[in-house]
């Protein structure tokens, strides 16, 4: 554990190596990526196991001195970090492997792996960071990695737009985070997490300041985790290769926002307002994204919106002081959402389309992918005995226990939506007859299926590390020795669990009626307008286009005119005046010698008169 710092270096190595020499060893570059990511995964596991037995470890060195301020860089391994390490490195490793099949034959294969390496490095660095500054640094680098991978197919206009959007949207959040952390710094005099917590605990910071900074930092989380209103980039980010979506936009990076809030949990708990904000935003995002998910027809977009809504769940959990619930759901979600994306990838790989309207009846064709996709769907829908069930249950309990009744019911509805649209997706893809020519379709190679299988297993079992029945190991472990994080397990009325189960089953049943049994008409939404609103994601993008973008453009133009007419014009004016004076003067030199004499005489006269008048010689 003393040298956990080595974990991020493996992927970094792979990045550097591939970026410089990748071109030479084409396909082989995959193995480098896979091996190195495997290495960091193994190492993370070791760290995790070591962590069970030994206390938090932290090591730092001075990075930059500003006068008497010393900014440090280092790493820390506490429960949360250790857990995140494992999740990230595992998913990363699986995606590395999976990609070997999925990206097979792409002529920029090595670049792809290099980017993956860069991203993994950043993500691991992020989870190891012991202080806000370092977190911010890796936070940005993670964004860079995601930006690069979204724009991997750079020649596609959409990819370009999506990458740009992702970068800028998250950047907006990041500035919030930056401001927040700097303000916090001048309050605390340090970026170190524990010193911040100490200051908060000591109450040396005014509550308003805490609220302000907490919310600003949360803005950063909103940007990264695609929370409302900065969520629009995440669905577009699906332009990237599917495995990337699995890694970055499902399991790891988007969860970074949640992680950040979790990591700064004591700061948030110190301000009820901040907590409330987090919870509200979370709940709104959950229901909002889920509702959009109901009608999308692009397999990846549906998953993307489900991701957004699940992240909303996690925020809701944290906002309801449900530290464990949030982290727990983060973990389970990482597994089953990664699984779903990989499965979707495998489907796309097979049928070469993302439009679910064109799919159908793939159950028979994709013997491995189908069941795995089903497992993922069940897990996310919160069907009992699957991992999602337990974590979602925790969240609902937390929300209820914290007294956010409204938010609680919103979450419940969201759960219903989730179950419904996920199974809508499942049925439309796998059941019934194929709605287009599917003759060529065949199952993906083992290199792709095996990672899915592993994730499938995890999607089932991961829930059992923290259950009301067999004990809340995860919770107890996460919270041990840190009261600020709340209890390992929050007690809640048992009916919540039943309600949750019922709604999810209801959703599934409804979806089955409509899309499998077809006993209900498909345009169940009746009102076309409603459908359009949902289908166009509440016209949020258009709204931004109309307001922010337009205003900025206008303002730029305005300044442009200032530049051309005021700034430039002033200069032109002056020079024109000077040369005008010159013209005047030279007109005067008209070669008439007597005028020259006259000028001299007049000059003399003026001097004498002025002298007489001002000199005081006239009496």
């Amino acid at each position: 554990m003393e040298n956990a710092w080595i974990i991020p270096l493996f992927p970094l190595l792979s990045f550097l190596f591939l970026i410089f020499f990748g071109k030479r060893l084409k396909g082989a570059s995959a193995y480098i990526g896979i091996l190195l990511s495997l290495a960091s995964f193994v190492y993370s596991l070791l760290v995790l196991f070591e962590r069970f037995s030994s206390p938090t470890h932290k090591a730092e060195a001075v990075w930059l001195t500003i006068g008497d301020i010393q900014l440090t860089a280092g790493f820390e391994v506490n429960q949360l970090n250790a857990l995140m390490l494992v999740i990230v490195s595992l998913v990363s490793f699986l995606v590395h492997t999976y990609s070997k099949g999925y990206m097979h034959g792409d002529d920029r294969f090595h670049v792809y792996y290099a980017y993956l390496g860069l991203f993994t490095f950043a993500m691991l660095g992020l989870v190891l960071s012991p202080n806000l500054l370092q977190t911010y640094i890796f936070w940005e680098l993670v964004g860079l990695g995601s930006f690069l991978l979204i724009g991997f197919y750079f020649y596609k206009e959409e990819a370009k737009k999506a990458a740009k959007k992702a970068f800028i949207m998250t950047r907006i959040g990041d500035v919030g985070l930056l401001i927040g952390m700097i303000l916090l710094f001048w309050q605390v005099g340090s970026f170190e997490y524990d010193e911040i917590f100490a200051a908060v605990a000591a109450g040396s910071i005014s509550t308003t300041m805490i609220t302000l900074t907490a919310i600003l930092i949360f803005v950063g989380a909103v940007g990264k985790s695609g929370q409302f209103p900065l969520h629009t980039w995440l669905p577009d980010a699906m332009e990237g290769p599917t495995p990337v979506s699995a890694l970055i936009h499902a399991a790891t990076m988007v969860a970074a926002g949640v992680y950040l809030v979790a990591a700064l949990f004591p700061l948030f708990t110190a301000s009820e307002t901040a907590l409330m904000t987090v919870a509200t935003i979370g709940a709104i995002t959950a229901i909002f994204a889920a509702s959009i998910g109901l009608v999308q027809t692009d397999i990846k977009r549906v998953l993307a919106y489900s991701t957004v809504s699940q992240l909303g769940y996690m925020m809701l959990a944290l906002g309801s002081a449900g530290y464990v619930a949030g982290v727990f759901h983060l973990m389970t979600h990482a597994f089953f959402k990664a699984l779903l994306f990989l499965a979707a990838g495998s489907v796309i790989h097979a049928v070469h389309t993302q439009d679910i309207e064109k799919m159908g009846g793939l159950w028979k064709k994709l013997r491995v992918t189908g069941p795995l996709f089903l497992i993922g769907t069940l897990a996310i829908s919160g069907v009992p005995l699957f991992s999602g069930f337990f974590s979602k249950d925790e969240i609902l309990i937390a929300a209820w226990a914290h007294g956010n009744t409204v938010l609680f019911w919103l979450a419940v509805i969201a759960a219903f939506f989730t179950a419904f649209y996920m199974f809508r997706l499942f049925f439309m893809v796998f059941s019934g007859e194929s709605r287009s020519d599917m003759s060529h379709v065949k199952e993906s190679p083992g290199v792709m299926t095996i990672p899915m299988v592993i994730l499938g297993i995890l999607a089932v079992v991961a829930g059992y590390v923290n259950t009301p029945w067999f004990g809340t190991y995860l919770g107890d472990w996460l919270t041990e020795g840190n009261a600020a994080l709340g209890h390992g397990h929050i007690e809640g009325p048992s009916w919540i669990m039943i309600v949750a189960t019922v709604v999810s089953l209801l959703g599934i049943f409804l979806a089955w009626l409509i899309y499998c049994k077809r006993s209900l008409s498909r345009d169940w939404l009746g009102a076309k307008t409603m459908y359009n609103i949902l289908y166009n994601k509440y016209y949020i993008d258009e709204f931004y286009e109309l307001t922010v973008v337009k205003v900025m453009k206008f303002f730029s133009l305005f300044l442009h005119y200032i530049e051309t007419f005021l700034v430039e014009g002033l200069v032109k004016g002056v020079s024109a005046a000077v040369s005008g004076l010159g013209r005047l003067g030279s007109k005067f030199h008209d070669g008439q010698v007597q005028r020259y004499g006259t000028v001299a005489f007049v000059g003399l006269a003026i001097l004498i008169v002025v002298f007489a008048v001002t000199g005081g010689y006239l009496k």
Binding site: I137, F154, Y155, R171, L178, M552, V567
Partner: protein, 503 residues
């Protein structure tokens, strides 16, 4: 580093090249270019030696030189007053600037491979320019500083006007006139200081004014006036809004190698001057207008960013981004605390490197595609993947991606300002977003998307071109990852400044 006239030799070593060149016929292109390149090396080596010696703990005092140069007054009557000495000397700050100058000059000399005609004259002027730039940072004496300052003016005028692009002469003249006015104002300030105190040595002046708390030498109004004038003078160079329009023109019209130096060093002389003389000689007055400086900084930052947002020509984008980034320097200075000042200096260095890199890359693809208009480009990554990669890296550095120098400086500058004027700083922070927006718009517009043209027969960056790109990016990343390499040498300088302003 223990022989006399080390600095003199450092500063004037490029003249050796001029000497050699004068014996080479104008037709021997490759020879001339080689000589021109080699002539920049001595300065580079010496400056690096000095730098590492300093890092190793050798004091810079022993480098300073002082020779009597000219005595205006009759020594019998007025003694040593009104005499100008030839005084060179460096501290951490100026040493860093010298190193930067030497590095960029060498790289620009490499980048001069794109010069198509009259290489001899070109390199003679080029080397003269380097002498001027090195001298500016080595001068310990206002008048000497001014002399070197003006010496940079003339070669630049010719380099722009003769080897530039279509509107070169217009650009050259507006460069000359704006900077002429700037230096005129500066000259007034310098002469007032010199004529009223009888000395032009920076430290002497600083101590005289420090001792003059009752405003006997100058009325407080005069001091403020002098400081403002100085700000205007250096504001033209920096440039500070609204004195910037010349610089846009220059960046668009001048040949890439010259722009590398111009954006890399010449603009920085403004910042250096403000720190060295503004803060160094008029600390109290500077403190009084610190807020104004910060506001100007934010204005620069946003103004440049907004205008960069709608430019069609990539060079224009970069030009306005330079304005915007100089805003960060002002922000840092306006903060008037360690973080701010250090951030400002970091920004000076880092923007020097980044701008040089980006303009070099512009040169690379302009050389092949004869356009820098974003509309006509696009999909560059298909034809020239490596160039595109560098371009992207440069853009990332410029928009303050951590791990690169841009972030460190930006971060420190804002860290500083947030302590003093949080609201203003928050407004300025919008600039960070805008920077991302306009840079991505431009760079992605060039590299990503559909190719508007086929890149048949277009070679990617190759052999000699690797050098500047790699070296610059390397240094940028080095500073980004290990900023102490810069901050350690600066410690003493910043401490003195902070001490002066009683912070």
């Amino acid at each position: 580093m223990n022989f006399d006239y080390f600095l003199t030799f450092l500063v004037f070593s490029p003249l050796l090249g001029v000497l050699v060149l004068s014996f080479i016929p104008n037709t021997k292109e490759s020879v001339i270019k080689t000589v021109g390149f080699l002539a920049t090396l001595p300065a580079l080596l010496l400056s690096l030696v000095a730098f590492f010696q300093y890092r190793a703990g050798v004091s810079l005092e022993e480098l300073s030189e002082n020779v009597r140069w000219v005595q205006f007054a009759d020594p019998d009557t007025l003694g040593n007053l009104f005499s100008i000495n030839y005084e060179l000397g460096v501290d951490g700050l100026s040493l860093i600037m010298i190193v930067l100058t030497a590095i960029l000059s060498t790289l620009a000399a490499v980048a001069s491979m794109y010069i198509k005609k009259e290489w001899k004259g070109y390199f003679m002027l080029f080397l003269l320019l380097e002498v001027g730039m090195l001298g500016v940072f080595a001068a310990e004496n206002l008048i000497l500083f001014f002399i070197f300052f003006e010496i940079t003016l003339i070669p630049t005028f010719f380099l722009i006007g003769k080897w530039g692009y279509f509107e070169k002469e217009k650009a050259a003249f507006s460069f000359l006139i704006y900077n002429g006015l700037g230096s005129a104002v500066l000259l007034i300030v310098i002469m007032v200081l010199f004529a009223r105190t009888g000395t032009s040595n920076i430290n002497a002046l600083a101590s005289i004014l420090a001792a003059d708390s009752q405003n006997l030498v100058f009325s407080s109004g005069t001091k403020m006036g002098l400081l403002i004038a100085m700000l205007i003078a250096f504001g033209v160079k920096l440039p500070i809004f609204p004195l910037h329009s010349w610089m846009v023109r220059v960046h668009v019209q001048a040949p890439p190698s010259v722009v590398m130096l111009h954006a890399g060093i010449l603009l920085k002389i403004g910042a250096y001057g403000i720190i060295r003389f503004g803060m160094g000689i008029f600390p109290e007055q500077f403190q009084d207008i610190a807020v104004l400086i910060a506001v100007l900084g934010v204005v620069n930052l946003l103004y440049g960013a907004f205008l960069a947002l709608i430019q069609k020509d990539f060079k224009m984008v970069l030009a306005y981004s330079s304005i915007s980034h100089m805003g960060i320097v002002l922000i840092g200075l306006g903060a008037m605390n360690e973080a701010g000042i250090q951030g400002a200096i970091f920004q000076v260095v880092s923007h020097g490197l980044i701008a040089a890199l980006l303009f070099f890359l512009v040169g690379v693809f302009y050389e092949r595609l004869e356009t820098s208009n974003i509309k006509n480009l696009g999909g560059l990554a298909k034809g020239m993947p490596i160039t595109a990669g560098f371009l992207l890296a440069g853009a990332m550095a410029s928009l303050g991606m951590p791990g690169m120098s841009g972030f460190v400086s930006e971060f420190m500058a804002f860290l500083g300002l947030f302590k003093e004027l949080p609201i203003l700083a928050a407004v300025g922070a919008l600039g960070i977003i805008l920077t991302a927006v306009y840079l991505l718009r431009a760079v992605l517009g060039i590299t990503y998307g559909k190719a508007h043209r086929e890149f048949a027969g277009v070679t990617d960056i190759r052999n000699k071109e690797w050098v500047p790109a790699l070296v610059l990016l390397g240094i940028i990343v080095l500073i980004g990852v290990y900023p102490s390499v810069l901050s350690d040498p600066l410690t003493s300088t910043i401490e003195t400044i902070i001490f002066k302003i009683g912070g």
